[in-house]
Amino acid sequence: MPELLTLPPRLPNAQNEEVGASKFCPGCGHGMILKTLASAIDELELKDKSVFGCDIGCSLLAWNYLDLDTVQTHHGRTTPVICGVVRARPEIVGIAYMGDGGGLAIGAGHLVNAAVRNEKMLVVLVNNTNYGMTGGQMAPTTMPGQITETTPYGRDIEKTGKPAKGAEMIASIVDTDKAYVTRATCSNLRSLKTSFKKALTNVAEGRGFSFVEVLSICPLNWRTNNVQTFERLKTMEECFKVGELVVPAGLEGVK
């Protein structure tokens, strides 16, 4: 037997080794994104300073995924729970991890107000253009023409509007001297890690609100094979422009 196969998987220190195999659906983006987040936390040595919060929806499966103190809450309510944490104890680096439904629909009011108040916390919004956990309904981010369970003939933008651009919305309301806002993608995990490191540093240094939208994949609900899945992700990257929108001074050295 080749020796490589007997080696245990290399997990970031901030990932919970007791969990074992990912609980997400085969091909889901969450595992990659969380592992990348854990690596960023390792590199910045934030494991003993962080509180991680996750929503209802697919993100709740992250409730014990990381080796961080973690709270799982209700759909869209991760933002206020983590906001409450960092307000009570500003030395904590609070991370609110949610999907596009949690951040841009049911919890949109919380997200907007946390951004406006420049809460010193990180919001990670995983955008896979549909509600995964509940079986693939239309999300605010569903692309024009995209088929979901509640748009079985494709999203008609005349009836349901155009996809919500979370990062652009947040960029337009934050204090640009203090906030960090970016959109990354799970097709480029190296760049995603840099985004996480900048976002976490911005919070850890007490500067302000950080928002990382991550374009992700949902092959199960999309009903796509591996090739189609990444083709869909490319389409998403055309619809939702990847890149930094707001970068405050002081993060230049973070790579």
Binding site: T70, V71, C83, R89
Partner: protein, 366 residues
Amino acid sequence: MVKKLITEDTKLFMTGNEVIAYAAVAAGAEFMYGYPITPQNEIMHTWCKLLPKTEAGFLQTEDEISAGFTTLGGILVGKKAFTATAGPGNVIMQDAMSMAEMMRIPFVCAVMQRGGPSTATVIYAQQETTLTCFGGNGEGHRIVYSTAGHQDLYDYTIKAFNTAWKHRFPTFILADGYQGKMREPVVAYDPASRGIEMLPAVPTLRGEGKIGVDRKSVHIRNTFNLEEELMEVLDSYEADFNRIAPEIAEFKEYKAEDADVLIIAHGIVARSAMTAIDILRARGIKAGLFRPITVRPLAVPALRKACDRAKKILFTESANGQLARMVLKEIYGCTTPYDTLYKMGVGVTGDDLVNKVESMTETLVC
């Protein structure tokens, strides 16, 4: 650590909302998260005005959902935090209160009831009794103190924090806009001077120690995969709640010992009842009062005893029998006949009760 404002007994003349803020400071509350809604606003106003002296924390959130969940966040990292709400705010805060119930988070909230349903009126009702006791998608594992005046507001706000942190069930001070807005004398005190030791707040998340060295990471959730897994948890909560209920349950009786007509009322309506009882007694009618202080859990043995002893029972509320429904369930089997005087969203006066009891006693063979 919050600085104390009251170090020796001080007689104050102030509104109930102000009293709650002062009592929260006395209880060692460190943070208030809140959202404006009448008639509880002055709790926040007073809390904010006192901040330079107390060095406590405050956040005005975007809505009551957020006020509830930010409070939970603060409590989870070990701050003695609380909030206050009313009416439609109480409705939407049930989301957070349910989570507190499921995760045994020592959530403290003052509910200053206003008229309902929906927007209704802004000052007074007793229509949030069921909601506060049993709101949310759970079983009502909550502790609810119904106050009848300003000294109660001071005493039970302090008590609510200790009850919540000792037993880890969400705990409520259930009052109303009349109590919130009117002025009464109250004696403010340092709990220590009454032998009350305030329990410290303990962090659930980010407690002492390095993860992987001194302790494991803490993962708390309110999601369950299996039905049986959930039932096991809830069975243990139910057992805990029933075990502590006799210790927590409180009530007051007024001239109830020999009463032919027993008035059952909570909150400020109980005070109208006391006025009525004095008038009725002067007219030779033996009326008395049973006032549950904890409307959840009820003081069941005392309640049954009082009901069995009386010849007639009168339930009276500024609601359509929200307390009565809870009481009737607990006194199942009691054969004492009962009557009702319900005024939905309207105050019950002493005169209302005198007239009602007199009409009841016309048929009463004493």
